[in-house]
């Protein structure tokens, strides 16, 4: 798995984004378990306390939950996962629109460009 963590923004935010993305894109399945803090930190090459902070943040959002000593799991709440998935997709759509608008394209042209990108894929 590819974790591109940059050093010029808080690492825990990037970890939250990445794990969130992995949950909504199905890398981690609903109800499935998440590796331990230490394992994940070693895998990504980040500080364990920072990883812990990111996982706690995701618990607060309700995307993960801790079950006693057996570790952390992804929520079964597929509705919540779907909501977050839409949020992320919507955010990416906004970024795309903003970028092509800055290049001087209209909305209709932006849609055409999207279709063309799909055909070229």
């Amino acid at each position: 798995m590819d974790w591109e963590i940059k050093s010029d923004r808080p690492v825990y935010l990037q970890l939250v984004e990445k794990i969130q993305f992995d949950v909504v894109s199905g890398v981690y399945k609903p109800g499935g378990n998440i590796p331990s803090v230490r394992e994940l930190a070693a895998q990504v090459g980040v500080n364990p306390n920072t990883m812990q902070k990111a996982l706690v943040e995701l618990e607060k959002k309700g995307l993960l939950y801790a079950k006693g000593t057996s570790g952390r799991f992804v929520t079964d709440d597929t509705k919540l996962i779907q909501e977050i998935r839409e949020d992320i997709a919507g955010e990416n759509a906004r970024i795309y629109l903003e970028n092509v608008e800055n290049l001087g394209y209209s909305f209709d042209e932006a849609v055409k460009l999207l279709k063309k990108a799909m055909e070229d894929k």
Binding site: K6, D8, P10, A42, V46, N47
Partner: protein, 231 residues
């Protein structure tokens, strides 16, 4: 209780204060980066903590104990250069560590060596620089210490070996211990740090949580270091 408490520490060489009145407190479970330009006093400070040098004045306590035999038993020190003799074989070095340190976990060391394909009959002489550094780190991290002092653990090794070394550090220190790392390879190491301490001319110029620095200054520790110590 902090694992490490340094108060008003001074170390003089002749008339020069190489360590110039510093105070530091380190809580357990933390990885601290001790950074500074060449000659800033990093290695001197590490050697004071390891009990290899004696302070001119000031106090150091590790897990509540003054520097001495008791702290040496709970401090695991990786010097900035490998120190095993060329004629030694791995099994000899392992026996040496297990003889010397009560907290040495032979099983753990053997497992890590096996993963790296380092055999117990391999001779130090035939090892590459990178392999020697990995061997040294494995030995140091196989101790169940309270404080790990790693002086430039990724000095002369390739990027893949660096990753291995950093992962070994992350996987092996426990929540009731702390790690202090000195390095010039800040970009490689900064993601595994909790806090960073900048040392210059024997004084502390910065002591901060790394994530706070990223948030406030929107820069990496590496960039901040380069700006502060531009030649």
């Amino acid at each position: 209780m902090p694992i490490l408490e340094i108060k008003n520490l001074i170390k003089k060489y002749h008339t020069k204060n190489v360590i110039d009145n510093i105070s530091i407190s380190v809580d357990s479970g933390k990885i601290i980066g001790l950074l500074g330009p060449n000659g800033s006093g990093k290695t001197t400070l590490i050697k004071l903590l390891a009990g290899l040098l004696t302070a001119t004045s000031g106090d150091i306590s590790i897990d509540g104990k003054k520097i001495g035999i008791e702290t040496k038993a709970i401090v695991s020190f990786l010097p900035d250069r490998p120190y095993f003799a060329n004629w030694m074989k791995v099994h000899y070095v392992l026996a040496f560590f297990s003889d010397f340190y009560r907290d040495f976990d032979m099983k753990k060391a053997m497992e890590m060596l096996e993963l790296l394909n380092i055999g117990v009959n391999d001779r130090i002489k035939t090892m590459s620089k990178g392999t020697k550094e990995k061997l040294n780190l494995i030995l140091v991290m196989s101790r169940d210490a309270k404080l790990y002092l790693l002086d430039e653990p990724i000095g002369g090794v390739d990027p893949a070996a660096r990753d291995y070394i950093l992962k070994t550090i992350i996987s092996n220190y426990s929540e009731d211990s702390s790690v202090i790392i000195t390095t010039h390879h800040i970009a490689d190491v900064e993601k595994i740090l909790d806090d960073v301490i900048f040392l210059n001319n024997g004084k502390i110029e910065l002591n901060s949580a790394v994530e706070d620095l990223r948030e406030k200054r929107e820069k990496s520790v590496d960039e901040i270091f380069r700006e502060n110590y531009k030649c």
